[in-house]
Symmetry: D2
Subunit: 354 residues, 4 copies
């Protein structure tokens, strides 16, 4: 299809939220996909997207998207076979299975089904092989439809940065402290009063995701299931006065131990399947290693690779666990909309769309 | 003296910088000490303090201090026997020893002599007994003078929070990630452009202090020296857009392991020598344990105990090291000026001033 | 009463909001008033204040207030004769008249009745004589009760700063541009995403207040009504990333014209009735004139006079209107809770409480 | 030239500063110009640009620029006939005349020569005809060289927004209040401590520029000089916690008076000479009128037209002067580097380069 000049029509569910806006932005002029349908809550359905959306990610929404009429989040109202879901957990709970049951491929940002045994939790550079779960999952829905999940926004950057290390050593223990951007909470999200001259050492429900999802992502495909890696993760999360870009301070114990120079080399030359396939949204390099002592920084580095790369710096020995580093990734691009889109491209490239 | 209604005259060296300003502020109406002399670089000497200082810590400097004439940082120009030094490392290198040699008690904020074997590195609640090193040190200077050091601003809050745990268990390994306030860099310090919509994963020379000073503070006095604790510390530091208040995410391994409830109880009821002696600047409680899931926060909690307490929250198990928590302390009060002042009060209470 | 050592019991309506919290904070240990009752929406009524409130203005609520049980905003549930209302406009619409009708003195922060002909709109230093409207208003409610209004948070600082000029010249035209703090929008208020690396050139319904209220405040009492001043005001308002403190850039045309030195002198020596009466919350001086070229600044100057003074700087000629200056005042203290409290003190001192 | 596929080699003086960095960024892949030479202070000369620069405007400098060797700011060391100067005032004082005397065309960002009678002060959309002064100026330097000045960063956005109004009415009086970004002060510029939870009502030397430059820009070319417009301007400037983008609240008196609808229409359809000539950096439209009540906002709107457009909103009547509005422009692109570049393109298009 991508060789024929016609683009596959796709839909975005939850198109008016922060992640939905990023999806709409990234799909504008996409070489493989055409944003054909946008859907949101019943309250907005029927209105032009450009009027209903409180656009917060740039000057104004793309003209083509702005002209689309919002549909209901219902498979009867949406035709596309490939559906990107930026629904929140409450809405996703029933809507996404309905689309899967209706035979659609759903790429989901919601947390609801990430740990389901037959649902692939995918960072395309790390575990594209887990898409094999789709076959098993189709039996659940009784057709060609399925759900694939994008991990938590902090987990994605972490998993991308660690993917090259996981190829050569067993990851055993991780201590991760995050400094996360306000956009991760959506809009309106965090009150300004909480982030003026302040940071918040807590984000609802975030630490359990950081402590559970990596083990599945780095788990081993065994038949129609994934054996989780035996990986102990301790995460302490913080919200900081930054618009976009999650920064993670990471300490890692692996077996065998990996030295800083070796880690930097593995990361810098890492290529995953998206890079091999030349997927349109695949950053190349996937991981940018910065040597300056004060990088990565959110404002300067979050758009590296179009917001799709992980930027890693301060790779050095850790006196406690062996290796440590700082990892930055753009939370609403790589960590959400862009990550979802990359999974969609991978699925398209592998002819998995129903 | 403190019973007699007359106050001991004291001097502040480096009185125009950020820490010096806080010292001047805290010494206003102090019950034991009278700010008799302020000193700064030669360039400012001779000018009224109120004119020379670019006062940044409140509306305006106290009137009595503003009227003082700035002196040179020279024992010949300063008479007080008790001297609080807020000099930076470059100035402190020669000035502080000159005062010690001239028979003065110098309480120093500079990093220069913190690891000297005969210099006490004091968090009054944690290791007041280390003041015994003064006797040995006096031999170095050949008189009654000496230098006592206040630890690094991040280390103080950490050591205060861990002091009750160190009384009942051996601290073995620490992973500490800091979110530090801009005032820690002095004034002008960090450019605004670096902290608008941004954080910086690096502070010059900060991590080595966090990784070395705790072992000395929690070390054991053995004759005229301190045996450092065998404590492995991994620190990753960050500058965040906060004016005052350093927040630390801490993971701790101890032997025996301490559970969260026990840790919270030990902290909440902890009293150190300053609390026993009722020192004027001693916070009571020394450690405030907060149970709300999203605390401590710099803007709301930094002034707890007049900016002298450590505020600890999110005490919970750590899957990797055993115990973890968030620790907040005010970096220019407890972490600098106030910590120095508390050491001065301790020395005064113990009749150690020459 | 204030001479007898017993304090008048008072109530705060809307005690859980931002302004309500400030009122609770300011009433702690007040020499004349005792916070006897707190009331909030029906949803919170019956719960202890300390549990129901999301306290945002300091470390924790005063212990005495925390122990109070929240009442409903209903005169049947509240006994105090003097009632401070921090209700928002929607709640105030019916609740405040109900209290007035029930014979209570209501000092209101809500916008609803500010422009009613028989309701005094009071800045105590500027127009205490307008309290004479109470007599007329009591006829409306048929008893001893009444409502007195505190002006808009930006208007108060402006009116306080201009009061000494209005005594000697006729104010004719004002161009005012505001830089307003986030706390002015309450909590949660403005989303953090809107104030990170950003300012917003708009606040709902704010400009009409700035353009209408000053004419009433500076109007002339004529029998049982106030003749509004013929004052043209153009206001452009902005929300900026500041927690507390509204800053106003003001250009003023008066007749006769007032020069900068004269204006500074009038302001610096200005005393109003609250200062003459020595009301507990009256700042003295009421206006602080700062000469440094870069003041006033919100973070450094908002707590001047306990947050009750206007701080004025950069007084200089205006090439277009004659005179210009920068005016700062604390929006939730002087501009809301503290202003309300000062009106209450004035009413108490004048024996107007029913 | 621009039709021939070869690009004119140009130089940037002061290439390591904030404005210099933006110039280097904007010149990357420029269709008419090739960045051939970068120059900076003697201290940096001889080093590769990529090493000497503390790059702050994006992830990393363009590779081609990074490889250039920094030259001294001396006509003997720089060959290009067209020179963009981002030097600060101190350095520009002698360097820019030296280049003019050496026969080069200098487009300057420095304030030094803006008000010189024979130096064009150019906003290309507003007063391109003032370039006629070059002829007179060449007599001063005795050759083909000259200096053309880019106005102050706040003045440019203001002048661009008012240009269509100045075509149909006489501008008489302006009250302007600015909310200016930190990048306007260069790097390091404003200390972070001054802009956390704070704004500063002052910028050194800024108001006189706002009050004098517009009268020259809107002045009338009369032979070899410009008759300044009789325009009274009152400016009150503020630094706010924003990285890029100056926002101006403007009240305007004109003769005849222009209503809001008419003003919006004139602005929206305005085209200047750069738009007519299709200069590569000319935004089209030059002015974007936004109707949403809360726009323009710096973070969302500063990149409108690639950072080269003025964005105007809240156009409405002013009770004092007649018309008011909010004007936003990107201070280091349109207000500095991009404005300079556009002047360079205009000069190139008019064959004025020596």
């Amino acid at each position: 299809m991508n060789n024929q000049g016609t683009r596959r029509p796709v839909a975005v569910l939850g198109a008016t939220g922060m992640v939905g806006q990023r999806l709409v932005q990234l799909l504008d002029a996409h070489p493989w996909f055409e944003l054909a349908e946008v859907a949101a809550s019943d309250r907005s359905a029927g209105r032009p997207y450009g009027e209903a959306v409180n656009w917060r990610v740039s000057e104004a929404p793309p003209a083509a998207a702005a002209a689309l009429t919002l549909r209901a989040c219902d498979p009867a109202a949406v035709e596309s076979a490939l559906v990107f879901s930026a629904l929140d957990a409450a809405a996703a709970e029933e809507v996404e299975p309905a689309f899967a049951r209706a035979g659609r491929a759903v790429i989901s940002n919601a947390r609801n089904r990430r740990m389901d045994p037959d649902v692939p939790l995918i960072v395309p550079e790390a575990n594209a092989d887990h898409l094999a779960l789709i076959e098993a999952q189709r039996r659940r829905w009784g057709g060609r439809g399925f759900v694939v999940c994008n991990p938590n926004c902090s987990v994605i950057g972490l998993a991308l940065a660690l993917a090259p290390l996981a190829r050569t050593a067993r990851l055993e223990r991780l201590v991760v402290t995050t400094l996360q951007a306000a956009s991760g909470a959506g809009y309106p999200g965090v009150p300004a009063l909480d982030l003026i001259d302040n940071v918040i050492p807590w984000i609802a429900d975030e630490e359990p995701k950081l402590e559970s999802e990596p083990a599945k992502i780095f788990g081993k495909l065994a038949g129609n299931r994934v054996e989780a890696l035996d990986l102990a993760v301790s995460a302490q999360v913080h919200r900081v006065p930054v618009s976009d870009g999650h920064l993670l301070a990471v300490s890692l114990q692996s077996s065998p131990r990996i030295g800083p120079e070796r880690a930097a080399e593995l990361m810098a030359r890492f290529r995953g399947l998206p890079q091999e396939l030349g997927l349109p949204s695949a950053p190349d390099p996937a991981i940018v290693v910065r040597e300056a002592s004060d990088r990565p920084q959110p404002r300067l580095d979050r758009m590296t690779g179009g917001g799709m790369a992980a930027v890693v710096g301060r790779i050095r020995p850790c006196a406690v666990l062996g290796l440590r580093m700082e990892v930055l990734s753009h939370n609403t691009i790589r960590g959400a909309a862009g990550g979802t889109l990359l999974i969609g491209e991978l699925i398209q490239a592998q002819d998995l769309v129903p």
